[in-house]
Amino acid sequence: MGEEDYYLELCERPVQFEKANPVNCVFFDEANKQVFAVRSGGATGVVVKGPDDRNPISFRMDDKGEVKCIKFSLENKILAVQRTSKTVDFCNFIPDNSQLEYTQECKTKNANILGFCWTSSTEIVFITDQGIEFYQVLPEKRTLKLLKSHNINVNWYMYCPESAVILLSTTVLENVLQPFYFRAGTMSKLPKFEIELPAVPKSTKLSLSERDIAMATIYGQLYVLFLRHHSRTSNSTGAEVVLYHLPREGACKKMHILKLNRTGKFALNVVDNLVVVHHQDTETSVIFDIKLRGEFDGTVTFHHPVLPARSIQPYQIPMAGPAAVTSQSPVPCKLYSSSWIVFQPDIIISASQGYLWNLQVKLEPIVKLLPDKGRLMDFLLQRKECKMVILSVCSQMLSESDRATLPVIATVFDKLNHEYKKYLDAEQSYTMAVEAGQGRSNPLLRRPVRTQAVLDQSDVYTHVLSAFVEKKEMPHKFVIAVLMEYIRSLNQFQIAVQHYLHELVIKTLVQHNLFYMLHQFLQYHVLSDSKPLACLLLSLESFYPPAHQLSLDMLKRLSTANDEIVEVLLSKHQVLAALRFIRGIGGHDNISARKFLDAAKQTEDNMLFYTIFRFFEQRNQRLRGSPNFTPGEHCEEHVAFFKQVFGDQALMRPTTF
């Protein structure tokens, strides 16, 4: 297996902490993603390390018994420590506040605290075997205030900090789940739902285990993931992951089933909106993308792994520590070790080795593993860091060796432009809403985020097409077909095509002397009108005379290029035509007489000069009541020439009334 084959990897810079051992207890807080190393109950020190902060927090606390759970509130304001099954101790970490510990006992009599979760910097939820209690901590008063509570039998609980939802397992089979949602001092109860357990012989009692449930946000939606193990009685070919969609409002609904096609021990992660399923027996992982097309049976969609199963990329443990030991070669890390603990969304912890990693998806290897380019694009466009990979896929499919067929190329362009158009539309409706003054009244109005999946024309031009047309070995037919396909796709999504793409088409056609083809494209307005394009056409006139006509037509259609039209006609010595044109659009009162007289004189056609001269004399008469030119018009030379050729008496006489 080549290195380019691994599509999952552990992050390069893991969080390192002291290994768990009899005197050092290690805790992980999912909300702040912090690892706590508590030595001797805190008496000899507590070290807290998070993924972002390079400076760990260290402090000491009195050893008041075995620590069961320890967590900071958000922003590390207050530390909560559970040492008994009835109470939780608090300690302020806010400057100027007393650092003396204070304690809160759970309100429900005879209840045992299963654990607690911080939902903000000062709000905390106790989960007991008899319900939940929602408190506000008042650090300055060193007391807690009960906000709300709810009685319910609890087997176990699960917290998803990203969505502030706590899931409680109730009933004997543990498979009825009761979600609660917390926000700004309020606690709301969401509809409960039941996880369908696989059918088993009546003799064995099967209940829902906490280990088989996970909660994660996928594509902005909260899902409860249930790992349903293979049961021998059913016909299923292996274990599956069932995704229950848990909306803010409304009932929880079974939506997706991920087919694992294998049995054994599994662990789940969610990375970049992909569900990663690790399989310990084979030491491999597979990924699922619920946005990719699956088989829909009317209620749920079945998905298969996007790619063949692969191991996480082998990982070398960097030998940190004293300089003397750095010469040692790095030690390969045992992957899929039984001491690994997996947390949502993307965390893998090896307590015995003292490492916390984030799992990452590598996109480059996937390009080779997913031969269906349409599916590959669907997959890549949903990934966070996709831009450069997509551009390289595009370049690759246009390369001599890996050339794709035109229908495939068309599909890829269509998918890119679909994303591009979605963004343009969102941007446009945002701009319109802002202009309409809805910005202040509507707090939901937000500028759309431009993700990496938005590849605009300049990206495709710069990274793909400009290099592609330069390739000498490419048959020009293919080059033109690809350019037209991209333009077709843009048009199909009603995206205005930038003129540099049109220029690229023209350049390619001209290079291969395909002027008639160019002519036909222009005839059907495939290459949109613009002044730069019209000028480019004018420059082609010496190679292809009809370009002159095409250019003039284009300038005419633009209707903002009348000056250019006059210039073109004058340069062709079509003085009369220029004059008639400008008169036709009513601009003849503002033109420079000298310019036209100059052009007329250059034709060496005296009758033409006479006509033009007379026209301006008449204009002078009409505008100023006298046929004479004013000194500002600088026409003395022409008046002299007129007199010389036609005589003084030919000059127009001022009409007097």
Binding site: L406, Y516, Q520, V526, D553, K556, A577, F581
Partner: protein, 482 residues
């Protein structure tokens, strides 16, 4: 702007008058180099129609033409005589290849009157025929021959005079019968191409289709696409396309219209179960793909004869109103398998595309409101792209092209065109014709527009205004001086 009045042939004719249209008298091709000595004159003649003519008369007629050309050359070495006017007929000369001369003799139209004593009096109308129209017809004869046979010189190289004579005989024997000299007019001078009006998106879809077809049938060298007998795309160069277009629209397509209308060989084929139904069929080549004996013979055409000289198979394939021409190098042997493959790839996609085009065309027509018949009768031609548009001509049938206006008006159009040819400048000519007709000709750069108006008591200014209006509505997207 020049205005002229022409009271053309408005006289009332006596009831017993008979009219005879112009007719082809003879048509011959010769090369003076092939029989320079006395007694060998017959060798000069490569083709002579009608063949029944006695040998010596043939030699005399050829000799006369030779003499006229030779004589006029002394006055104009580079441009010898193009035509000879006589009372009874007109002769047109054309030298398409060096020393190869084509001559067409057309009898002037005749009016036969009954004199008082009952004897018929024949009157030749010497001024009726337009030189440019029939010179163009003669040039077209050569172009059409060259399209299917290559140049005269090539035939000489391949098999000498014998082969050339065979080819000429084979081709012109049939082709001359299809010349309809009585209905030739301005459009024959232009030899234009009618383009199908289409929106950008549909056009791009067609582009995409052509590119895909050329990719999957990788031996295709050139492709042309037509809809409703109008051109949409040509991979061939303009001059070759011009004559191919003429062949397709005046010969091949009309021949296939009648069977379609009669419902014979119904194009829906469902013989193969599970096969995608489509309306595609070959207009050239095999008629029935399921017949293992079917011959895959396609017409051969010659293009780019001035430089690369390419010989190609011409495959014309049609689904509903959409026709595609695939042109493939003649050295490649085309098999029945290939034809089946082409049918299975092109047929379904072309069927879908054809209905797309039809739908889009109807939408555009409704949007632009142009479904109403234009009140103007006009002919437009652009020398640059050979685009031609006529609201005067009815749909072409294999036999004649019908016009909706009086032949006298058509003749005025031809006269105006001759005037335009004489000068390079842009100009405009307005003619007051018989009854209430006005004929306007405009020339702007490489474009020509001819309008026929029929307005009671209209004056020059009103006519001018009407034409301006027409330009503003029909030609607002091009640069057209007024």
């Amino acid at each position: 702007m020049a205005a002229a009045a022409a009271g053309t042939g408005a006289g009332a004719w006596a009831a017993q008058e008979k009219q005879f249209p112009p007719a082809l008298l003879s048509f011959f091709i010769y090369n003076p180099r092939f029989g320079p000595r006395e007694g060998e004159e017959e060798n000069k003649i490569l083709f002579y129609h009608p063949n029944e003519v006695e040998k010596n008369e043939k030699i005399r007629n050829v000799g006369l033409c030779e003499a006229i050309v030779q004589f006029t050359r002394t006055f104009s070495p580079s441009k010898p005589a193009k035509s000879l006017h006589t009372q009874k007929n007109r002769q047109f000369f054309n030298e398409p290849e060096e020393n190869f001369w084509m001559v067409m003799v057309v009898r002037n139209p005749i009016i036969e009157k009954q004199s008082k004593d009952g004897k018929p009096i024949v009157e030749y109308q010497e001024e009726e025929l337009l030189d440019k129209v029939y010179s163009s017809v003669l040039q077209q004869c050569y172009s059409m021959y060259k399209l299917f046979n290559g140049t005269f010189l090539k035939a000489m190289e391949d098999g000498g005079v014998k082969l050339l004579k065979e080819r000429l005989e084979k081709f012109f024997h049939r082709y001359l019968q299809t010349l309809h000299l009585q209905s030739c007019d301005l459009l024959d001078i232009f030899g234009g191409i009618s383009f199908f009006p289409l929106d950008k998106m549909t056009y791009l879809k067609i582009q995409s289709f052509i590119n895909r077809m050329e990719e999957s049938l990788n031996i295709v060298k050139y492709t042309a696409f037509l809809y409703n007998d109008q051109l949409i795309w040509s991979g061939l160069e303009q001059d070759d396309m011009r004559i191919l277009y003429k062949y397709l629209t005046t010969s091949l397509f009309p021949r296939h219209i009648e069977p379609e209308l009669a419902g014979r060989d119904s194009p829906i084929r469902a013989e193969m179960p599970g096969n995608l139904q489509h309306y595609g069929r070959f207009l050239t080549g095999p008629l029935n793909l399921n017949d293992p004996e079917a011959k895959c013979r396609f017409p051969k055409i010659f293009v780019n004869t001035d430089d690369t000289y390419e010989e190609l198979h011409l495959i014309v394939y049609k689904a509903m109103s959409a026709a595609v021409c695939f042109m493939i190098d003649a050295s490649i042997q085309l098999t029945l398998d290939f034809c089946r493959r082409l049918d299975s790839i092109v047929g379904p996609q072309l069927t879908v595309l054809a209905s797309d085009i039809c739908e889009q065309f109807n939408i555009n027509k409704r949007m632009s409101g142009s479904e109403k018949e234009p009140q103007f009768k006009f002919i437009y031609f652009n020398h640059m792209n050979l685009a031609e548009k006529s609201t005067i001509h009815m749909r072409k049938t294999p036999s004649v092209s019908l016009t909706s206006v009086h032949p006298d008006l058509m003749k005025i159009l031809g006269d105006i065109n001759s005037d335009f040819t004489r000068v390079d400048e842009d100009e405009e000519i307005i003619v007051k014709a018989m009854s209430d007709y006005w004929v306007v000709g405009k020339k702007s750069d490489q474009r020509e527009l001819y309008v026929i108006l029929n307005q009671k008591n209209a004056n020059l200014i009103e006519v001018n205004e009407e034409v301006k209006k027409l330009c503003a509505t029909q030609f607002n997207n091009i640069f057209f001086l007024d």
